[in-house]
Symmetry: C2
Subunit: 313 residues, 2 copies
């Protein structure tokens, strides 16, 4: 079926004659006469009765008329949608991130982002460790949140948007001092049973590297992909949990300190990665900007856990 023929049919039905439709559509009358004939042949039925030299809509024609109007309206709407898309502020944005990042950052960003980009549809995918690198590679997502060290230095496939630093933290049951003044040198963790994240997490690999540099082997007695489980066990005096500062911690029954190496906090950059081969869009960049703002806003929060520890220490 040709939309052109459908348009002719609807116009003739509405104006009453092919001659009037010809004037309206700026196409010669014989051409429209043929289009009507072509459409009738294609559909296999009469849309108009020929009464003398005049046309009269048939019952079948009447039935199809509304369907054709709807079809033409929808085609027009697709054109309108395309015009809207041309403005660049519309599309699908697929983001792969850890559950923690979604909870702590993305969930706070979405309301304002949706107001600013009403025609962008954000689709979230839960992914941990290197999963989102693979998803980026396969083109399944546009953005993947991770830590900067997740990408090998010689791996140039991904563009990286820095959001802010993430520090290594140790969380234990309030009791005998865990570290001094909110800090613990990493080598001082040697005697503690440790509760750590799985090796798929970049933060875990960063922790392992720091231990190696400090010349000691960590006593990891439990590994998990669920950071909150680690915190729950730490609260139950089962050990000391090693977690990133990007984790939103609601528990108040824990003593949390920064892990340092040679007196300096062990930091890693939280980033959003994208596929270098894929052209970036304005709404994707805006999303990254808003996440970076949100991470910066949360940074004072990482400082506020120190003052909370003050009374217990």
């Amino acid at each position: 079926m040709e939309l052109r023929h459908t348009r002719t049919f609807v116009t003739v039905a509405e104006l009453g004659t092919i001659s009037k439709a010809a004037l309206h559509l700026r196409i010669a009358q014989p051409a429209l006469s043929r289009q009507i004939a072509d459409l009738e042949r294609e559909l296999g039925l009469r849309l108009f009765d020929r009464v003398g030299r005049r046309l009269r809509l048939t019952g079948e024609g009447e039935q199809l008329l509304n369907d054709c109007r709807i079809l033409l309206n929808y085609a027009s709407a697709v054109g309108d949608r395309a015009q809207l898309l041309r403005h660049g502020d519309t599309g699908v944005l697929k983001v792969a991130a850890s559950p923690q990042f979604i909870e702590a950052t993305i969930s706070n960003v979405l309301p304002r982002y949706t107001r600013n980009y009403p025609n962008v549809q954000v689709k979230l995918f839960e992914a941990v460790g290197l999963e989102n690198l693979a998803m980026l590679e396969r083109g399944e997502v546009h953005l993947g949140q991770n830590l900067s060290h997740a990408v090998e230095p010689n791996d140039h496939r991904f563009a990286s948007y820095p959001l802010g630093p993430v520090e290594l933290l140790a969380a234990g049951h309030p009791g005998p001092n865990l570290g001094q003044r909110g800090k613990i040198e990493i080598s001082s963790l040697a005697p503690y049973p440790l509760l750590a994240l799985d090796a798929v997490f970049s933060v875990r690999r960063t922790f392992d590297a720091a231990c190696r540099l400090a010349g000691f082997k960590p006593n990891v007695i439990f590994e998990s992909r669920a950071p909150n489980l680690l915190l729950a066990l730490a609260s139950a005096r089962h050990g000391v949990a090693i977690i990133p500062s990007s984790l939103q911690i609601h528990r108040r029954d824990l003593q949390i300190v920064r892990v340092t190496y040679r007196g300096r906090p062990i930091r890693e950059m939280l980033t959003v990665l994208s596929d270098k081969r894929r052209p970036s869009t304005r709404y994707a960049e805006a999303f990254c900007e808003m996440c970076a703002e949100q991470v910066r806003k949360a940074l004072p929060g990482t400082r506020s856990f120190e003052s909370r520890r003050g009374r217990t220490g």
Copy 2:
């Protein structure tokens, strides 16, 4: 926009490559490549990124993909609908009839008719007197219910489908005998104040003609287009109402008798008219048949008012 281009776009998006789409659509790959390019030019945006020599759906392309699927589905549905229409049991049937006929006959016919012709849409128009002749003339309706005498004998514009006879009735307040044994000779109506229908009703013109033949002038004190108003006034002893037997009478406080001329009931044929110039459809004829059946079923009902009057007489 060309549906052909839209179909190509959706097929390429689904199969992943133009070459595969070409195999599927049985069109050479270069032709499809051009169709994609043509669609992108027309819409003014990129539907696919060219990654090396491969295509990757853009965000905009993804947004439009579903719209295009819907559009294609609807176009297909129009084609399906046309095929259904081709079978002849589908269309619009426009019927003009008096309110009384709609209530007494058509409302009883519609449920069964709709079951038998589920794809026919019946549209009812209320029309009295000669209105439906004009509507038929203008092509506004397919069928017009009326009495046979509504059409001038030399008027050959309309085809006529007889439904059944309609008799002239007189209705009055139960009291002194109105007529004998359920009948009243028309000349015996002379002394009564009469409540009659407007002159647009064929039944009224038939009544006037019978009075003229009987050689007397009827004493019509009130005229209306609302038969039920006439009955209400008759019940209130305001006069004697002249009505057709096709009227469905629910009141039990009235004495109703047949009006006769020279001992024979005055009858007229109830018919459904159609425009001779317009080809008839099977579902229109079926509608007439069902109405005729319903009118015949109602005829025993016109006899049953006699037995109801028996006790009062």
